[in-house]
Symmetry: C2
C-alpha cells in the first residue's frame, strides 16, 4: 500500500496559501447571505400560502445547500419540499404537488423538470428555486426518492458547524474545478450531499484529499462504525459511501468509476503541487488546435435528432445506447479506443467514437469445431462449403473458413444497427425511431467539419481526441 511522504514545511505553506485563496472564492459575503435569505423567505411564504389552501394541507420545509449553509458563493440554490401524507397515491402526489409548485412560482417563470420524480424549477431574481413534492414518511419508510431529502437537511443542520461548512465549500469548489461535481447522469459525479458526508468523515477538505489519494478499489466510507462485511450488500459498487440517514443506501452508486478516478488522481496531484487551477474550471474546447490532430482520421460521429425530453432521461438513454453500440462494434471486430455521448440537451445528440482504424478487412475468419466432433464438423462443412472463399483444416484439427466480410464498413454497421428488427437493436426504445429516421454518419475529417457547426459536439470531440485535463495539468 502506498503511503504518501509527509509534506515538508514549504509545501504545507503552499497548501495553506492555496486553500486560503480558494476560501475567498467559495464563502458568500454577508450581503449575499442576506439577499438569498430574503428570497428564500419570499419563496417559502408563497409555497406555504398555496399549500395551506390545498386539499391535503401539506407541510412545507426548506432544504438543499441553502438550508444547510453549504452553498457556493454566487451559486445558491433554494430547495423547498412539500410533504404530503404517505397514504396518497403516487399519481395524486405528483398532480397536487406540481399544482402547488406551479401556482406558487407562477410569477417566476416556472418550468417542469423530472428526475426520478417531477418537480418545478423557477428563478427569483438571480437565485434558482426548486419546489419538490415528497411524502411525509418516517425515516427508512421511503415512498419516493425525494423523501430522504428533508432528513438529509435535518442531519446536516445538526452535524455541520461553521468550520465544517467552510471545508464542505472548498471541497465542492475543488470538485467543480476538476469536473467531478454533480450527481446527475450527464456527469455521474459527486453530489453536494456526498461532499458534506466526506467533510464530516475526514474532518476537513485537506484530510478528504489525503484519504482519497489512498482510496482502494471498493473503498468503504461510513460515518458510523461498520464492518467490511457490509460491502457484500453492494457487490457491483466501485466505491461505497453509506448514507448516514439510510445505511442501506450507497451514495457511491451515482458516481462513475471515471469520476471517482479523476477525483483520486486530482487529489494526488494537488497534494504534490497545490495550485488554484484545481478550483477554476478552465474550459478550453476550441476546435482550432485540433485541426492538425491525426487522430481526427480515426473519428466516427453518429449524429441524430430526437424529440425533446427530460435531461436526465435523455442522458440515461444516450449512455445505455452507447454501451450497446460499443458491444455491437466489438462483435463486428471494430476496435474502439474511446467513445462518448454528446447532446445539446434539446433535440440534437451524437455518439463519438475514436477507432483504432476506420476500415475493415474484406475477409472474415470463421473458426469451426475440431473434426473429432462428428456432427458439428459435418454441419460446419455443409454450411460453409459454398459460401467460403477457402475452407481448411488447421494445425489444431479444427475446421476453418474464410468468408467475405458481411459488415464491410462503419456505414454498413450503422445501417444494420438502426435497421435491426424491432427490439433487436438494443438501442434505448425511446431513441431508436428518432435515430433510425435522422442518423448521419461522419467519418474522419468530416467529423471535424460537422463539429464546427455544433459547439456541444465540438466540445466532446475535443475531449475525445485530447488527453484528460486532469492528466496534463
Amino acid at each position: 500500500m502506498f503511503t504518501p511522504s509527509p509534506l515538508r514545511w514549504n509545501e504545507m505553506n503552499d497548501l495553506n496559501k492555496v486553500i486560503e485563496e480558494a476560501l475567498k472564492l467559495v464563502e458568500p459575503l454577508k450581503e449575499e447571505i442576506d439577499h438569498v435569505k430574503a428570497l428564500a423567505s419570499i419563496a417559502f411564504e408563497k409555497v406555504s400560502k398555496i399549500a395551506s389552501d390545498s386539499e391535503f394541507k401539506p407541510s412545507v420545509i426548506l432544504g438543499g445547500s441553502y438550508a444547510k449553509g453549504t452553498w457556493l458563493k454566487g451559486e445558491a440554490d433554494i430547495d423547498i419540499f412539500v410533504k404530503f401524507p404517505k397514504e396518497l397515491e403516487r399519481e395524486e402526489l405528483e398532480k397536487h404537488g406540481l399544482d402547488i409548485a406551479l401556482k406558487s412560482m407562477r410569477d417566476y417563470n416556472p418550468i417542469l423538470r423530472y428526475s426520478e420524480h417531477p418537480y418545478v424549477e423557477a428563478c427569483i431574481e438571480d437565485v434558482k428555486i426548486n419546489v419538490v413534492p415528497c411524502y411525509d414518511v418516517k425515516k427508512g419508510e421511503w415512498k419516493s426518492a425525494a423523501d430522504r431529502s428533508p432528513y438529509h437537511t435535518e442531519f446536516m443542520v445538526k452535524a455541520l458547524n461553521d468550520d465544517l461548512r467552510r471545508e464542505v465549500r472548498i471541497l465542492k469548489k475543488f470538485m467543480k474545478g476538476i469536473g467531478v461535481y454533480g450527481a446527475e447522469i450527464a456527469t455521474q459525479g459527486f453530489s453536494g450531499y456526498v461532499c458534506e458526508v466526506l467533510a464530516i468523515k475526514y474532518g476537513s477538505f485537506l484530510s478528504t484529499l489525503k484519504s482519497a489519494s489512498k482510496w482502494i478499489e471498493r473503498e468503504l466510507i461510513s460515518l458510523d462504525k461498520v464492518d467490511e462485511e457490509f460491502k457484500k450488500l453492494f457487490p457491483q459498487a466501485g466505491i461505497i459511501i453509506l448514507d448516514p440517514v439510510d445505511r442501506k443506501r450507497n451514495l457511491g452508486t451515482a458516481i462513475s468509476q471515471k469520476r471517482l478516478a479523476e477525483f483520486i488522481l486530482a487529489s494526488r496531484f494537488f497534494l504534490e503541487k497545490p495550485s488554484m487551477d484545481y478550483f477554476i474550471n478552465k474550459k478550453d474546447y476550441s476546435l482550432k488546435k485540433l485541426e492538425k490532430s491525426d487522430l481526427l482520421e480515426n473519428i466516427v460521429i453518429l449524429k441524430f435528432k430526437h424529440s425533446k425530453r427530460s435531461i436526465d432521461i435523455l442522458w440515461g438513454q444516450l449512455k445505455r445506447s452507447l454501451n450497446h453500440i460499443l458491444k455491437q462494434l466489438a462483435i463486428n471486430d471494430f476496435k474502439v479506443v474511446r467513445a462518448n455521448c454528446a447532446t445539446d440537451e434539446i433535440e440534437n445528440s451524437a455518439f463519438i467514437f475514436l477507432m483504432e482504424r476506420i476500415d475493415q478487412p474484406s475477409i472474415d475468419i470463421k473458426i469451426g469445431p475440431k473434426v473429432f466432433r462428428y456432427d458439428d464438423s459435418k454441419k460446419f462443412i455443409d454450411k460453409n462449403m459454398k459460401t467460403s472463399k477457402i475452407i481448411w483444416l488447421g494445425d489444431d484439427a479444427r475446421l476453418y473458413s474464410v468468408i467475405e466480410r458481411r459488415v464491410k464498413s462503419l456505414n454498413d454497421f450503422f445501417y444494420n444497427l438502426t435497421h435491426a428488427p424491432k427490439g433487436g437493436s438494443g438501442i434505448a426504445p425511446g431513441l431508436i425511431d428518432d435515430l433510425t429516421n435522422t442518423y448521419e454518419v461522419y467519418i474522419g475529417k468530416d467529423s471535424f467539419k460537422i463539429a464546427s457547426s455544433f459547439p456541444w459536439l465540438a466540445r466532446e470531440l475535443v475531449k475525445i481526441v485530447s488527453s484528460d485535463k486532469i492528466l496534463i495539468e
Copy 2:
C-alpha cells in the same frame, strides 16, 4: 457420440468395387517381386561381405517394407540394418557403420542422409536401398532410434499374413492418395509401420476407416489390452498409438493434428461416397487459376537462402522458426489466417502467411493500471505522458494512452525479427544468420510474381490460398 448409419447394399457394393480396383494399384506382380528379391539379395550380400571384413563383425539383417512384404507396387524400399555391439560409443557406431554402408554401396551412387541417426541411401537399378547402422540390443534397451527397427520387422513378419498384407497396402495407398502418408517431419503423417499396426488392430482397410471416422480426441490405440490410465503417460498427444514392441512409445507423436484430422475426414467422406480419387494423389498446383484470387492481396512471403543441410533437420528448423514468427506476429497485432513453410530442400526456403490484412493501424493503445494502484499508475503516467498522443482515464478507472505504433508494417516487423539481438529472435539458431543476410519480403500481388519463378514456392502458395483438397473433393 456419432454412430454412422449402416451401409446399404448398393453402397457396400460400391465400396467393394472401389477396394477391388485399388488392390490392382497396390499389389506387386510376381515379376516385380522376383526382381526386388534379386536386388535385395545383391545388396544384402554386398553389405554382409564388407561387414564381415570389418573390426566389429556386425550382423546384417533385412528390414523395412520389403522384409515385411508390405511395399506398394512399384515403390519397394529395401532397408538393411547393420547391428553393432551395444558397448560401442555412438561416435564409433556412426563412423564404422557409415564406412561399411558407403563401401558396400560404392557402385550405386550412395548418399549420406540424417534423421536422428546418419544412414546411407543408394539405388540399385530402380530400387532404393537404405543401409542403416544400429545397435544390437535387447528389446527395450534401445541406445539409438534405429534399434527398434529390427524388432519391428520381426514383429510384423510374424503378425502379418497375406490377407493383412493386402489390407496394409490398400491403407498405405489411401494415405498416400490423401497426402497423409510419411512420418518425416516435412509431412508429419502416418508411417508405414503405423499403417501395419492399424491394419492388425482393426483387421482390414475398411474397418480401419470405419474406426478412424469415429476416433475421438486423444484416441488410445493398442494391440495389447491396456487401460485408459495409460493416456496419462502422453499428456500432450493428439492420438496415442502404442508401439507393440515398446509400449512406452507413442507412434502417434510423429503425426500432426492436421494429418490426423485429414485422415479422419477422408475416412468419413470415403465411406459416404467411395471413389478411386482417394487412392490417386492428383497434384494440381497450377498458379494460373490463382491469378484472380483476391486472397493474394493478403499474402506475405518471407523468402531466404541458406546453406545445405539434412532434409529432416531443415524441416525441423523451418517449422520451429515458423511457430516463433507466428507468436511474434500475434504480439504485434498482425492477425495471421494461415501459414506454411516452403522449401526446395536444397538452398531456398520461405514462410508464407495469409494475413487478415496487410497494413497496420498507425496508432497503438496502451492499457494501464487502475488508479487505485498508486505506484503503478504514477509510473504509467510518468512513462507515457510525453510519448503519448493522448492519455486518459477510462470508464473502468484504468489509465489508457494512445501512442504512435512502433512496428508500422510487415517490412518493419521482418526487419526487427531478423535484427533482434543474438538469441533473442527465437528463430532456429542454425537459420537466423542465413535468414538475416538473405531475406526478401514479398507482399500482395508481388507474392504471385515471385512464386511464378519457383515451383516449390508456387505449390505452397496455391495450397495456402485454396481450400484443403480433402474438403472440396
